[in-house]
């Protein structure tokens, strides 16, 4: 038993002093604490990424394969098997779908992962302290790698279909950031609710399944008459439209009030979700 250096002087308390007591009511996110734990966030994210495709034959290729297969099926359905004429504003349908599918798929996967993330981390939660919110955040962040890889697919397809590369492309990160934020916000709510109410296990897959139809993924949103309501009910509408606009430019300009509404809704969800998470966090270890 001599592995630890025995001469180590006892360090100063270096910010480790704290008072443990019951917290009451709503609690805000302690940003300073989150900053202190930033390395842990990185490690958790890295862990999620590196185990994601462990013991799979195709590995990271799944990140590309999933959108390719989905686009193929949707193209067959909408262009060959049905008579529905989808208005794509002049963009070839496969490309049109892909631009909607990439952010959508990120959202769907990351939301599913983060909603169940706290339950999956049960053994950590009941044994050690750290800000629990890192868990759903790292679940969302680890989806980013897949997204970036599948983005390459989008560019390859754009070259194939001779789509011009516009400066709008520079806005892709901005809209992507919005998707990440929305996913985090919903992830906070659902992961925390999931600890107490396992109903979430059924609600989230349902949202994801229905969401693909009610979001402008496969088709454009409804006409001007309904545009406002459509965006106001679903924070993703404006963001997905914006994403498509940053890929194809001109004709695809989003309904801007919709984007702002979406952004506003996201902020409301994010702040309320963080508060809810923080307020219920203290009971996680007791009831998980």
């Amino acid at each position: 038993m001599s592995a630890t250096p025995t001469n180590a002087a006892i360090p100063e308390w270096a910010g480790e002093e704290r008072v443990i007591r019951a917290r009451h009511g709503l609690a805000a996110i302690d940003l300073r604490e989150l900053w202190h734990y930033r390395e842990l966030l990185g490690m958790l994210t890295w862990r999620n990424i590196s185990i994601r495709y462990k013991q799979t034959y195709l590995g990271i290729a799944w990140a590309v394969l999933q959108p390719v297969l989905t686009v193929t099926v949707l193209t067959l359905v909408f262009q060959r098997m049905t008579k529905i004429d989808v208005d794509t504003q002049g963009v070839p349908y496969p490309l049109f779908v892909l631009a909607g599918l990439l952010p959508w798929q990120f959202f769907a996967n990351a939301l599913g992962d983060s909603s169940g993330s706290l339950l999956g981390a049960q053994s950590m939660i009941t044994k050690i302290y750290f800000p629990r919110i890192l868990i759903p955040i790292s679940a969302v962040l680890s989806g980013c790698v897949d997204f970036v890889i599948s983005l390459v697919l989008l560019f390859v397809m754009m070259i194939y279909y001779h789509m011009p590369f516009t400066t709008n492309l520079l806005l892709i990160p901005v809209f992507f950031l919005m998707v990440v934020t929305t996913t985090c916000a919903m992830g906070f709510w659902f992961s925390a609710l999931n600890v107490k109410y396992r109903d979430v296990k059924y609600i989230v897959p349902f949202i994801i399944r229905i969401g693909m139809f009610v979001c402008p993924v496969m088709i454009l949103g409804p006409g001007p008459k309904w545009q406002f309501l459509y965006s106001a009910l679903n924070p993703l509408v404006g963001i997905l439209e914006g994403f498509r606009w940053s890929a194809f430019g001109h004709n695809h300009e989003p309904f801007w009030p919709g984007v702002w509404i979406g952004l506003g809704l996201t902020c409301v969800l994010l702040v309320s979700g963080a508060y809810y998470f923080r307020s219920t966090e203290k009971t996680f270890a007791d009831i998980i």
């Binding site: 592995a3 360090p11 704290r18 443990i20 019951a22 490690m43 590196s50 053994s123 109410y197 009971t283």
Partner: protein
Amino acid sequence: MAQSIISARNISKRYRLGATHHDTLRDRITYSLRSVASGGGDEKTSDEMLWALEDVSFDVDQGDVVGVVGRNGAGKSTLLKILSRITEPTSGELPVRGRLASLVEVGTGFHPELTGRENIFLNGAILGMKQSEVRNKFDAIVAFSEVEKFLDTPIKRYSSGMYVRLAFAVAAHLEPEILVVDEVLAVGDAQFQSKCLGKMGEVAREGRTVLFVSHNMAAVSALCRKGILLEGGRLTKAGPIEEIVSAYVTNTGKGAHQFTAKTRAGSGLVRVTNFEVSSTRGPNVVVCGAKMVFTISYEAEKADLPIQFVVGVFDAFNVRVLYLDSQVDSTLPPNFTRRGKVRLEFGEEFSLNPGRFSINIGARVRGELVDHIKQAMVFDVQEGNFFGNGRMASDKGTILYRNQWQFEPENI
């Protein structure tokens, strides 16, 4: 040191019994509707609540090695959970001045798909080490864990021993100001447990603060200087460890000399129905110097089974003093009737030293465990004239044996 490193002030923790009440939204909704209908406010009826800790206050100074002693359910683990911030107290305050680590959490966050190397970094981060810190200590951690050869193997291929060694190696290099060890929860083999104890001793010698939770009074007495005794969620005694241990030992003796089978295991093919301890002085009385007799009554599902009885005798510190195996040293018949008694007599030249002892009984049939009772009986051994000369035996040691001292003079 003017300030205590830990000073608990009126810590209470309440659990709601059946905390799964509102596990589904439907329950929550029907519950809310019902409480609205009945005027509400009945949510906090006291019979649903369990006070795991009630009004616990104590101080720990820097460098103290404190034993936290108490029976199962006394609130020891809850106290540790509050200290390590896993759960919050319902009320009270507890300032902690320093980095706190616990040896309960070895291997937390280990992922089976990741390699040993990756898990060291991951686990380090989870335990609160900076990555630079892990890098600096990496070689030491690896050397300590003795798994150098398998560093790049996913740990799902590790043996459980390797797994525990690696996990412990990371935790051992944490260098906390306060170390919390919960032996009750620490899984692993005897070797691992002794590694935990060794680490604690080392940490204590460095002048760090240690809180140690254990049922093993020998270990507690050996390692700790101070102690606190928890009973039913309340702190009933705090002070020098000797006082705490003796208070604990006295309290656990309630209901002595009675056969109990609260914790029972085994297939049930044979059941031990009673256990008695007696001596030539009478039933339920064990006196030094009077021959001791154990009687086991049993009932089997069928006749003619070759039953093997095993009796373990433990002292007040929960250390096994005797292990008596009917198959090793007996002239019992090879097959037993459906019901019967087995007597185990001790010779006159042997006795247990005065004090409190407990019994575990096991029964096997062809190697299969058919019955196993922990703490089947607690009994006291009283002072007696063991040596036949009126002198009392010393209270040191646990067994007495009538031996012969001989003198061999040597002429110079």
